[in-house]
């Protein structure tokens, strides 16, 4: 059972790291703010969520799993909110200009 969980956890964490790397790559290569935000908000949240799920598979105890889930929820929430705020601020700047 534990080996199955280990394999599952490692696979999910690897996939999550891939998502984060893609986010970093997108941030580096994409041309403007909105397309960067578009890539970052999604890939970041997915990557962190996958890493959280993977780490949860490999830990024991409800307390550790709960704090991992808390991290994932906070990252998802703040990523979405700040993405929206940054996009809104840039639109307002454009309107003013």
């Amino acid at each position: 059972m534990s080996t199955v969980l280990d394999i599952l956890g490692t696979a999910m964490m690897t996939a999550g790291t891939g998502f984060l790397l893609m986010a970093a790559f997108a941030f580096w290569r994409l041309p403007d703010l909105l397309s960067r935000l578009h890539a970052l908000t999604k890939a970041d949240t997915a990557g962190v969520a996958l890493i959280v799920c993977g780490a949860a598979c490999m830990t024991s105890g409800i307390a550790a799993v709960l704090s991992l889930v808390l991290c994932g929820v906070l990252v998802a929430l703040s990523g979405a909110t700040t993405g929206h705020l940054i996009a809104q601020a840039s639109l307002e700047d454009e309107e003013r200009a």
């Binding site: 808390l70 929820v73 906070l74 929430l77 703040s78 909110t81 929206h84 705020l85 809104q88 601020a89 307002e92």
Partner: protein, 300 residues
């Protein structure tokens, strides 16, 4: 594998520091500084000092970053980023020299410091089982009292000097649902850090910084209006109560046991928890007020 991680971390810290120093735009520089704070926090974890890591992440990176971003917004004029090469070279040389002196000082200490065994020996008397809290709130509580006095002085300066306020209006409706989730969580995590400080990494400073994060979310969502005399007054009274209560506790212990901040036998934990609970609220209120700025009118 961990050595590779440590090496990457060290290179990353220096790299982000360079990025912060040479960024062309002020917001990018502050962003790089905040990333550096989080990497430094990670390195404190690797060095086995989770208490320092928590404080660095919450105060050093998070709240200092918020204060810097706020100030960067206020200073409209971009600074002259290209200083003369001589001043850059001179400050670089001074920094390298200082780092060398520090290295020489650290390596010239002949024996291991005497404090850890002393603390370990007397930990039972302190009332708590986390050695960091034992030092901060019992063995060297006097130092912590003075640290709170420093925060007090900073806050008094901010209250006395009327700087312009934060205006949260343009943030829009997305912040309110965000605050609805983050504020209760910050209260919960802050209470957890405060309580666990007795036997695990945590304590008043970390708990206060987390609570202040929730407070900033309230201010930015427009829910906490410090311009209103009641709300502003409560927050200021809470902020200033930290030093008052800590000082009163010092006087009370002096009257009870004859030693300043020498707690009565067997009651140390109650005293420590009481002081830390007040300090948590006071530190949180102080940090929110430092961010918000003075609530007095700017004279025209």
């Amino acid at each position: 594998m961990t050595q590779l991680f440590d090496a990457l971390l060290a290179v990353g810290i220096v790299g982000v520091a360079v990025a912060a120093l040479f960024a062309n735009d002020r917001f990018a520089a502050v962003g790089a500084f905040m990333v550096m704070g989080f990497l430094v926090a990670l390195s404190w974890v690797r060095l086995g000092a989770p208490d320092v890591a928590l404080a660095e992440a919450a105060i050093g990176a998070g709240l200092t970053g918020a204060l810097l971003l706020r100030s960067a917004r206020r200073l409209r004029v971009e600074p002259k980023m290209c200083q003369s090469r001589w001043s850059v070279a001179a400050s670089g040389l001074i920094s390298i020299g200082f780092a060398g002196l520090l290295y020489a000082a650290i390596t010239s200490v002949p024996t291991v410091p005497a404090y850890p065994p002393l603390v370990a020996e007397r930990l039972g008397e302190s009332g708590v089982s986390n050695p960091v809290t034992a030092v901060l709130l019992n063995f060297r509580a006097w130092d912590t009292l003075l640290e709170i006095a420093v925060l007090f002085v900073a806050l008094v300066l901010v209250i006395v000097v009327p700087v312009s306020r934060v205006r949260p209006a343009p943030l829009g409706e997305m912040v309110v649902p965000f605050a609805k989730v983050v504020v209760p969580l910050s209260v919960l995590i802050s209470g957890h850090l405060l309580w666990q400080g007795a036997d695990a990494p945590g304590g008043a400073f970390q708990a206060g910084a987390v609570l202040a994060g929730g407070g900033l979310a309230l201010v930015l969502a427009g829910a906490m209006r410090l311009k209103k005399p009641l709300q502003g007054g409560i927050l200021r009274a809470t902020a200033l109560s930290g030093l008052a209560v800590f000082g009163a506790a010092a006087v009370a212990t002096a009257a009870l046991t004859g030693h300043l901040l020498g707690y009565p036998d067997g009651q140390a934990k109650i005293w420590i928890l009481g002081i830390e609970a007040v300090l948590t609220l006071a530190i949180a209120a102080t940090l929110v007020l430092l961010f918000h700025g003075s609530v007095r009118r700017v004279p025209k």
